[in-house]
């Protein structure tokens, strides 16, 4: 069993729910990313580390801007993984890459799997890779003992949920509503229906993301899901704190305000 399965199983034994913060690597620079990973590891069940991409079509404006800021630093996937590896040595917490397909494809799928493994990370989620097309990469990841995380959406048919159930490992990422990433005032009831539908087909832990931005929403989603993903709200806070010497510390506190692992 991988670290992702371990961490969810130990949460379950303790009757707790998980918290998955997302940050875009290299926003505002890789040195800050390393510090943020170490700081967020204090509250996070698991961390999603975004690979910046020039055309983030599944993301709303907040994460698009983070990608644009990161890309100005002109680094490659290996630099990003080296950063994550340094953070892992200081504070180990299960971490997955959250990426679009092309940067991985250009790096080489086998090479990605090896490099992710070498960096001490646990899995990869590719937003624009459907299960139908994912076979080759999935084989490489599994050969390296890594998890492939799949997305499901309220529009997914039962057939598609079954397909994901057969293929997924680690956990399943349920998108709370149709659309792109970004904070919302309310979390749609669709999210709960989707999680319940997925439970019929899979025993894997289910995390809900897209639109979750405050502690009330986190608590609400925890009623029915195993973990919440918070991305845009954190990235937006980073944008507000741009240039502040306290950025890392305040993002750590922002995470704690969303979720207290001890409770």
């Amino acid at each position: 069993m991988g670290r992702i399965a371990d961490v969810f199983s130990s949460l379950k034994q303790q009757g707790k729910k998980g918290f998955i913060p997302y940050i875009t690597a290299g926003d505002p620079d890789l040195a800050t990313t390393e510090e943020l990973l170490v700081t967020l590891a204090q509250t996070a069940t698991l961390i999603e580390l975004g690979v910046p991409f020039s055309d983030p079509m599944a993301d709303g404006p907040v994460i698009q801007r983070a990608s644009e800021r990161a890309l100005k630093n002109n680094f490659g996937l290996q630099d990003l993984l080296d950063t994550a590896a340094r953070a892992q040595k200081r504070a180990d917490v299960p971490t997955i890459l959250f990426s679009y397909y092309n940067p991985l494809l250009q790096f080489g799928l086998k090479r990605v799997a090896q490099a992710v493994k070498d960096a001490g990370l646990d899995g990869v989620l590719v937003t624009d890779l459907t299960p139908e097309e994912a076979g080759e990469f999935e084989t490489e990841l599994h050969a390296h003992g890594l998890d492939m995380i799949f997305l499901i959406a309220p529009t997914s048919t039962d057939e598609r949920l079954k397909l994901v159930a057969e293929r997924a490992s680690g956990f399943i990422y349920a998108v709370s509503r149709a659309g792109v990433t970004g904070t919302r005032n309310t979390i749609s009831a669709e999210a709960e229906r989707l999680v319940n539908r997925m439970r019929q087909f899979s025993d894997l832990p289910i995390a809900v993301g897209f639109g979750i931005s405050n502690a009330e929403q986190v608590a609400d989603v925890h009623r029915y899901a195993d973990a919440v993903v918070v991305g845009s709200a954190i990235v937006a806070e980073m944008e507000r704190l741009a240039g502040s010497p306290e950025l890392v510390e305040r993002i750590g506190k922002f995470g704690q305000a969303l979720y207290q692992p001890e409770i």
Binding site: S54, D55, P56, A58, N102, L105, T155, A178, G179, V180
Partner: protein
């Protein structure tokens, strides 16, 4: 994926539906103005001194370009799927205008995403879309051109998928779009085939069309693909140079194009070593796109179609030359095809037949051409 599966099923059903096809045929004929002429360009032929050049006059269609062939087909499909709201992207503005037009015709709401840079270059088309009742939304992300407008339209579609239809304008994006757009544009090649047989009694020796996403070219080429003796050439935008960022020639050796995945399609993509999609440049907004329809990538790798590029300055020259020789002001996109056709015609024997797809008219480009010539 669910919206794409729903769309694929609806499209395939419509393809076999006689009443759908006859309604489309009627609109193409009586609204859009098909068939378009296949015009023997005698003075251009004489000027080049080689093959006989024919122009397929898609520029004479309602709204001034081939784009209406596809928007009429897709709007009928949207109506069949009970979608009340249409989103579209546009580069040069021709597809945006064609989308706004068919939405006006069917009383549907229309939102067109357009890069800020393209809105500047194609101011007149922005106003035309607004006159037709569409809302034009400026896109300030990325390179502020066609690819960013597509990203934004895709985001809108996945967010509002219940009542919204995404009317994609070129033979790219995820399946079934490349298939659908090719099918709707193939009317160009089917007509050209009939017309050249009527006028010359034989098939052409070569076909030439410009390739941005690749809809007008695939539309011309597709009905001739199995005639292996016919040479086909797709013309990409060579821009101002061969460095990454200076052109939109995905197939140019050393130009930065190689297989990649962008916007749900695997094809040739202009990109840097990290897999980040590169900026592109072309004087023509409609060719200014870093990837190319996947069927073109297939035809390229299969060796069936040749792909070349034409620079901004050669396209500008052809733009002026065709205006003076034939009294036809071509779109800057089509001027790329004309520029290369002139080279190819010279190397062909007199009496050989060359068809050039004149995909659009140049009224929209008059201002940018004036700017470029004054530099």
């Amino acid at each position: 994926m669910a919206p794409l599966e729903e769309l694929t099923a609806a499209y395939l059903a419509s393809r076999d539906d006689q009443s759908f096809q006859s309604e489309l045929k009627d609109l193409l004929q009586n609204y859009a103005g098909r068939p378009t002429p296949l015009f023997h360009a005698a003075r251009l032929t004489e000027h080049c001194g080689g093959a006989t050049i024919y122009l397929k006059r898609e520029d004479l269609l309602h709204t001034g370009a081939h784009k209406i062939n596809n928007t009429l087909g897709q709007v009928l499909l949207a109506r069949r799927m009970n979608k009340q709201r249409i989103v579209a992207e546009t580069g040069a503005g021709q597809h945006g205008v064609a989308s706004a037009t068919v939405c006006a015709l069917f009383g549907l709401n229309c939102v067109v995403y357009m890069g800020a840079e393209d809105m500047r270059r194609q101011e007149l088309n922005v106003f035309r879309m607004q006159l037709l009742g569409a809302e034009v939304r400026e896109v300030n992300a990325g390179s502020r051109t066609l690819k960013d407008a597509i990203n934004e339209a895709l985001r809108d579609w996945v967010t509002n998928v219940g009542d919204t239809y995404y009317l994609l304008g070129s033979a790219l994006g995820p399946h079934p779009y490349p298939l659908m757009v090719r099918d709707y544009q193939s009317v160009i090649g089917r007509e050209a085939r009939t017309q050249i047989l009527e006028q010359e009694g034989r098939l052409p020796d070569a076909l030439i069309a410009c390739v941005g996403g690749g809809s007008n070219s695939i539309g011309l080429f597709h009905p001739f693909l199995s005639d292996s003796e016919i040479r086909m050439i797709g013309v990409e935008a060579g821009g101002s140079g061969n460095e990454l960022g200076q052109h939109a020639a995905r197939f140019n050796a050393g130009g930065g194009g190689r297989p990649g995945v962008l916007q749900g399609t695997m094809s040739y993509v202009l990109q840097d070593s990290n897999g980040q999609v590169a900026a592109t440049h072309s004087i023509s907004a409609g060719l200014d796109y870093p990837s190319i329809g996947p069927e073109h990538a297939f035809l390229h790798d299969a060796g069936r179609v040749e792909y070349v590029s034409v620079s901004d300055s050669d396209a500008l020259e052809a733009f002026q030359l065709l205006s003076r020789l034939e009294g036809i002001i071509p779109a800057l996109e089509s001027a790329h095809a004309v520029a290369h056709a002139m080279k190819v015609a010279r190397d062909m024997r007199p009496g050989q037949l060359l068809i050039v797809n004149l995909s659009g008219r140049g009224d929209k480009d008059v201002n940018s051409v004036r700017e470029a010539l004054e530099l």
